[in-house]
């Protein structure tokens, strides 16, 4: 009989029977190792959590009182003889790949990742392994990103043009990850940065965690419209078209997402400007990352799994599409709203209750969900 693999795919999540723990489980378990704090990877209801220490405050903010142990990148934790260590995934602040080793057999779970250094998340580090479990949200060759410097150049230019034309500037991106990446790369000589409450809550959690972010100002009922219009507003996707956003009009609204690479998706979003900026690896990034692990086999979890798996097999990888875990290809394109998208006006209030509702994979869903609008 074949030896049981160290990690297996179960209906609760990725499971290590030897170590008796799960990675990013979506049903309540005793022991959960979490790649990052996005809602589709960090669910509420587990007895014990292990995550990177930069995820700490965001996890507490999103999940409430949980029993959480945090570690540094590269630090090793032993569970029933299985060595667990976290390596930077470059996806968002605190995101990690999970390396699991037992008797010389090494598995790595990528979580979500990107290979470009965004200047704020610890840059992605390839980790050699025998078996690599990878995402492939953008596993189609039509998705190739330009260096972010070029994108932010466009964003800053657009902001200046709006100022010149008397338009307010609203830039939309996800509250954990995209929002901070935008914030750190804006040309602050243009003006001040104002944030939607949902985003500012995440910023505050990160600051409590010791992350140094550029100054921001939370938009409240007392904010002076004319002042806000002179700066730039960072808002979550849920705020698009709401009265909250309209009161700053006339404005130009930009959308930052990898899906903006396709004209159709861009038109669906009906943004004034679509900026192709993603926290996921593009086609070349995925292939180079997988190649760098020198893995014997690779398992593709979410994204264009069928296509990407077939291609990897053609170019000589031993690739497997994992159906059981996240369903079929393109599951990301779920119309289930991310927490932000559920409650358009939940600025400032406790977000915990949203997290109690079971979400399918992908807060980044929002990003992943090219079809949400």
């Amino acid at each position: 009989m074949a030896k049981k693999p160290l990690l297996e795919f179960t209906d609760k999540g990725i499971y290590c029977a030897q170590g008796k723990f799960y990675i990013d489980p979506w049903k309540p378990v005793d022991d959960a190792v979490i790649t990052h704090a996005h809602a589709d990877h960090a669910y509420v209801g587990h007895k014990h959590y292990l995550a990177h220490y930069l995820s700490k405050e965001v996890l507490l903010y999103r999940l409430g009182e949980i029993q959480l142990q945090t570690v540094e990148y590269g630090e090793t934790i032993m569970k029933n003889g299985v060595a667990i260590s976290l390596y930077p995934a470059g996806h968002v602040i605190g995101s990690a790949q999970i390396r699991v080793e037992y008797k010389g057999e090494v598995w790595v779970v990528s979580g979500d990742y990107k290979v470009e250094d965004d200047g704020i998340s610890t840059p992605f580090e390839p980790v050699q392994c025998h078996h690599f479990i990878s995402e492939c949200t953008f596993g189609m060759p039509v998705y190739t990103w330009k260096p972010q410097a070029q994108i932010f150049d466009d964003i800053n230019k657009w902001w200046r043009t709006n100022l010149h034309n008397g338009l307010a500037t609203v830039l939309v991106g996800y509250s954990l990850g995209k929002a901070q990446r935008i914030l750190q790369n804006l040309d602050l000589s243009n003006g001040k940065v104002y944030t939607h409450g949902v985003i500012e809550n995440t910023n505050e959690a990160l600051r409590r965690n010791g992350v140094v972010l550029n100054p921001t100002e939370r938009i409240t009922q007392d904010s002076v419209k004319e002042e806000v219009r002179k700066g730039i507003i960072i808002a979550p996707p849920s705020s698009v078209g709401t009265p909250w956003m309209r009161k700053f009009g006339p404005y130009s609204f930009g959308y930052c997402s990898g899906w903006m690479a396709i004209r159709g998706a861009k038109r669906r979003r009906a943004a004034d400007r679509g900026f192709i900026l993603s926290d996921h690896a593009d086609w070349d990034g995925l292939i180079s990352a997988i190649d760098a692990t020198r893995c014997e086999s690779v398992y593709l979890t979410h994204g264009y799994t069928a296509t990407f798996t077939r291609y990897l097999n053609e170019i000589g990888f031993d690739a497997h599409e994992v159906h059981t875990l996240y369903g079929s290809e393109e599951e990301e394109a779920s119309p289930q709203p991310s927490p932000e998208e559920r409650e358009p006006e939940n600025q400032g209030e406790d977000i915990n209750e949203h997290a109690h509702k079971i979400l399918s994979f992908g807060e980044d869903l929002g990003e992943a969900g090219g079809t949400i609008s």
Binding site: M140, V142, R263, R267, Y304, Y311, A333, S334, T371
Partner: protein, 538 residues
């Protein structure tokens, strides 16, 4: 080309009409006149002749992209647009080209007499010197699939703003057939119309639907409340054929379809009566197949539209005639400003004089005194092989385009059937990478028989939900098509139903579309093939 590519991008980047007009004006002000005319031609549906067939373009694009053909196809299904897919998949170029739109189009036209090898060499070299966005519009030019998210009206508005000429005048000047190589911008912009183009049609006047959507029917009372005194209105049947404008000038005849296609050769039966008209006559009407003096359903006409050669058999089986309903030019004078009633008298005079009354017919006026009465008459539409009733204000001029107020169409309620979705395919353009094209089936005993495809009628939110369902309930995949677990029921509306030997179900629908998603209905309660066939009316 850079300016043209940027124009495309800028138009994509705004949804506001004023912004779009501004962008168009900036383009017109920035480029040479020849580019302006080429852009105008492209934006009004005058695409350049395809010089390389799209299979070859695709093959060479796959080569240039250095990926397997199947992956190219998969990418195409994700992107939903061939030109864009090719642009995205090719490696970034490191050189750049300053050729204008005019120069590129000239190069494309020069391919005419080139060998396949020469074409390939030219194409690969061209791709290599264009950036992503340029490549996208270039591919659009090349494959002749040029659709922009900008209506002709906006382009005209921008030109009108620049020139100070009336939009209606400009609309008329760019009607019909002209070539951007010979029609000059200065000619277009002249105070007095300088172009001598005897084939040029007038812009069509289009009716507005009196019921805003096909789901909201209006009662005769409501129609009356909108339109006022019945005596102010002229009523006719709304014929279901091909809208056409027929021109006789300087001894020559021209037949234009609504899509501004010159269709003179497609309808030889009409030539004798047109040739017999006095010079300087333009008639607006509907071309239909007739047999024994009665109009035939649209599908009869449809069989001959697509044909390149009209065989004797086709001409015998579906002979056409015109039902004329307006006269736009008489004795060489543009009479569009005259009232509906005045134009009608002229039309009647012309028709009375024809020696071909079987072919040159006139749209009969429906007599009615009250809206109620007209509402009753409207119920007979299907028996008349009509789509409903047209209402024209007697005092109105013949206007340009779709205008509210003086021409209304009061269509009959669509027929409808509840059907189960069984196949789905991804859409294109705005609906790329979303399952939006569905095949529907009705029950034949305990089997579901597909009978119609439809891809419009749902809201964006509904599309997202249905897409979500499809991705989780796929039974099989055949290329881009998915077999979906039969579960969702939709009400399908259609205008008519006919026998068909080409379809498994034995029937073909006219204009099928989704009226609503019947989330309240289990699939067992969908309609049967039998009930559909009963509508055939035999």
């Amino acid at each position: 080309m850079k300016a043209f590519a940027q124009l495309f991008l800028s138009l994509d980047e705004t949804n506001k009409t004023n912004e779009k007009v501004k962008v168009l004006k900036e383009y017109f002000n920035a480029v040479p006149d020849t580019d302006k005319m080429h852009m105008l031609a492209l934006f009004t549906g005058r695409k350049p002749k395809r010089q390389i067939n799209s299979t070859l373009v695709r093959t060479w694009a796959i080569e240039a992209s250095n990926i397997p053909a199947w992956l190219f196809e998969e990418s195409y299904h994700v992107v939903g647009d061939l030109a864009e897919t090719m642009a995205l998949l090719m490696p970034q170029s490191d050189v750049s080209s300053s050729k204008t739109l005019t120069e590129w189009i000239a190069e494309i036209n020069n391919l005419n007499d080139k060998t396949e090898e020469q074409k390939k060499e030219w194409l690969l070299a061209s791709w290599a010197m264009l950036d992503n966005q340029e490549r996208f519009v270039f591919n659009k030019l090349l494959t002749g699939s040029f659709r922009v998210g900008v209506s002709q009206n906006l382009v005209i508005k921008a030109l009108a703003d620049i020139s100070g000429l009336e939009a209606a005048v400009l609309t008329h000047r760019i009607m019909g057939s002209w070539l951007p190589e010979t029609f000059q911008f200065t000619q277009l912009m002249e105070e007095q119309d300088a172009a001598e183009n005897i084939s040029r049609p007038y812009p069509f006047f289009l009716a507005y639907p009196i019921q805003e959507t096909s789901e909201k029917q209006k009662t005769p009372d409501e129609v009356g409340a909108t339109l006022g005194n019945p005596a102010d209105w002229q009523a006719e049947w709304k014929w279901d054929g091909i809208r056409a404008q027929m021109i006789k000038r300087d001894g020559e005849i021209f037949i234009w379809s609504r899509g501004e296609d010159l269709a003179t050769e497609k309808f030889p039966e009409l030539h004798p009566f047109l040739n017999a008209l006095p010079d300087g006559t333009v008639i607006d009407g509907e071309i239909l197949s007739f047999q024994n003096g009665l109009p035939m359903p649209f599908n009869v006409l449809q069989t001959r539209i697509g044909r390149k050669n009209l065989s004797k058999k086709i001409l015998e089986e579906s002979p056409v005639a015109v039902i004329a309903y307006d006269c736009l030019e008489y004795k060489g004078q543009d009479i569009r400003a005259k009232t509906q009633s005045e134009r009608r008298l002229i039309l009647e005079e012309l028709q009375a004089a024809t020696a071909y009354p079987e072919v040159f017919r006139i749209s009969a006026l429906i007599k009615f005194d009250t809206w109620d009465e007209l509402g009753q008459i409207r119920e007979q539409s299907r028996d008349m092989i009509a789509e409903g009733i047209m209402l024209k204000r007697k005092s109105a001029a013949y206007q340009v385009g779709r205008k509210r107020g003086d021409w209304w169409k009061w269509k009959i309620d669509p027929l409808s059937v509840d059907a189960v979705m069984i196949y789905a395919q991804k859409g294109h353009g705005r609906r790329a990478d979303l399952y939006t094209d569905y095949t529907f089936a009705v029950w034949d005993g305990d089997k579901l028989v597909p009978f119609a495809k439809a891809y419009s009628g749902l809201t964006d939110a509904e599309i997202n939900k249905v897409d979500y369902f499809i991705k989780r309930n796929t039974i099989e995949k055949f290329g881009p098509v998915r077999t979906v677990k039969p579960e969702l029921v939709f009400e399908i509306g259609f205008e008519g139903i006919n026998k068909s030997t080409r379809h498994k179900s034995g029937i073909a629908l006219r204009f099928p579309r989704i009226l609503r998603w019947r989330q309240d209905k289990p699939k067992e309660e969908a309609d049967t093939l039998e009930s559909l066939k009963a509508l055939l009316g035999e």
